[in-house]
Symmetry: C2
Subunit: 251 residues, 2 copies
């Protein structure tokens, strides 16, 4: 199959996501060395797997466009969704300790990735301290994200979970330079429900209520936030009262 070169040859130097990805903190010469080990793969179709549980760990991947859902299959069959990975995110590093992937990554859209063979990455990182630091930093970030996820699951009501989920998405969009108030979200309610520890029915009911209350709507893969501060309140993240004041002038 012949694919237009232009889609895949963009280097890290020119990539719009370099502030979120491995190049962060590297100088130009270092980015060029990184570029040399990165393989741009042809796009995955929606539903295709990037890796599956049990496969040998070979590389980590940076999402360039599209996205993945990462799930683990439990003994009971039904799968749990560990997270969603959007452009700029790195995935696959969770397989590092065991040498085998412990989860499956499925494209939720037509998706392009950069493949970074781990052996090469590790060797380069040992020569480029700032790259190594960034690798550690990205993993540390994933860990704190997963902790936030666990906190959401253990202490939040269904409504808070959905509000928080949309708020997180909104902030990720914003950091990528897109609108925080309106974006596309090509996920099934079922997948979001699994991620949030809820059922699709509950998700549907709460979406109906929040749309009714003009907080936000999610219809036909399109999210529109109508009242950001109400959303923050519902998510339990309002910039309220005097938390800052205790450290500055007030009181």
């Amino acid at each position: 199959m012949i694919t237009p070169i232009s889609l895949f040859n963009a280097s890290c130097t020119e990539c719009g996501l370099k502030k979120l990805c491995f190049p962060l903190g590297l100088d130009k010469a270092e980015v060029l060395r990184l570029d040399a080990i990165v393989k741009r793969k042809s796009p995955l179709q929606k539903g295709e797997a990037l890796f599956r549980t049990g496969q040998a760990f070979q590389a980590v991947y940076a999402v360039r466009a599209g996205g993945f859902k990462v799930s683990t299959v439990s003994a009971s069959g039904e799968d749990q969704i560990a997270g969603f990975y959007l452009p700029g995110d790195i995935l696959g590093a969770d397989a590092l300790s065991s040498g085998l992937h412990v989860s499956t990554a499925v494209a939720i859209d037509t998706t392009t990735v950069c493949e970074v063979p781990f052996h090469d990455l590790e060797r380069l990182a040992s020569q480029v301290p700032s790259l190594n630091h960034q690798l550690l930093s990205l993993m540390s970030k994933e860990l704190t994200d997963e902790r936030m996820h666990a906190e959401l699951l253990s202490r939040k009501s269904a409504e808070e979970r959905l509000a928080l989920f949309v708020l997180w998405l909104s902030r990720r969009q914003e950091r990528r330079g897109f609108s925080a108030r309106a974006f596309r979200l090509g996920l099934l309610h079922r997948d979001v429900a699994l991620y949030l520890g809820l059922t699709p029915e509950t998700v549907s009911r709460i979406l109906a209520r929040l749309a009714e209350e003009r907080v936000f709507s999610w219809r036909n893969k399109q999210v529109d936030i109508m009242d950001m501060s109400a959303l923050e309140v519902l998510a339990g993240e309002a910039q309220n009262d005097n938390d800052d004041c205790q450290r500055s002038q007030c009181g």
Copy 2:
């Protein structure tokens, strides 16, 4: 204050936990270099904090004896417990991406730790590839553990959660060379409840039932597992049927 040197001078070379900790995969000369940057601190009393939310990130810590509970304080005040760290575990690396600790680590017993200044660790790791690999591997391990925690929180019943929790503890004990069936657990019900996303009342009720059914008991900081296979069944982790068979001779 003068403390007996003998308590703190044990080197990594002689440490019984080296198979679980940074030295894994290093040769003797490398372990000696690691030893040179590790600081053995004087013990923390029960209830003392190793680090607190908001403190600057300076070092990672290896638990030598005792243990920690690591919790995050949410805006609403009550704290969520992210995990328990036992001898051989590494903690503190979650602060790496932001440069500030995002959680608080409190000793649950008299506890000794090895402090590894991160700046030194990073420099040494850049010279010793196997150390760098082990650092990445430990972080990857933490990430998969946190995913298991999230899975427990989103899909398991209260009984399954407790069974799984005790099973995890049992396996950790075993890997450290202790009995898998009987061990000390100096945690409050309240802390375990928070970790499992339950209330102390529910924990108490289920413990009573499981002791009644002779699966395991937890009284006076002492856990005794009476029926390991029943515990595995309750935890949804029984070595059941033909999962292996599908890959071998059966059928």
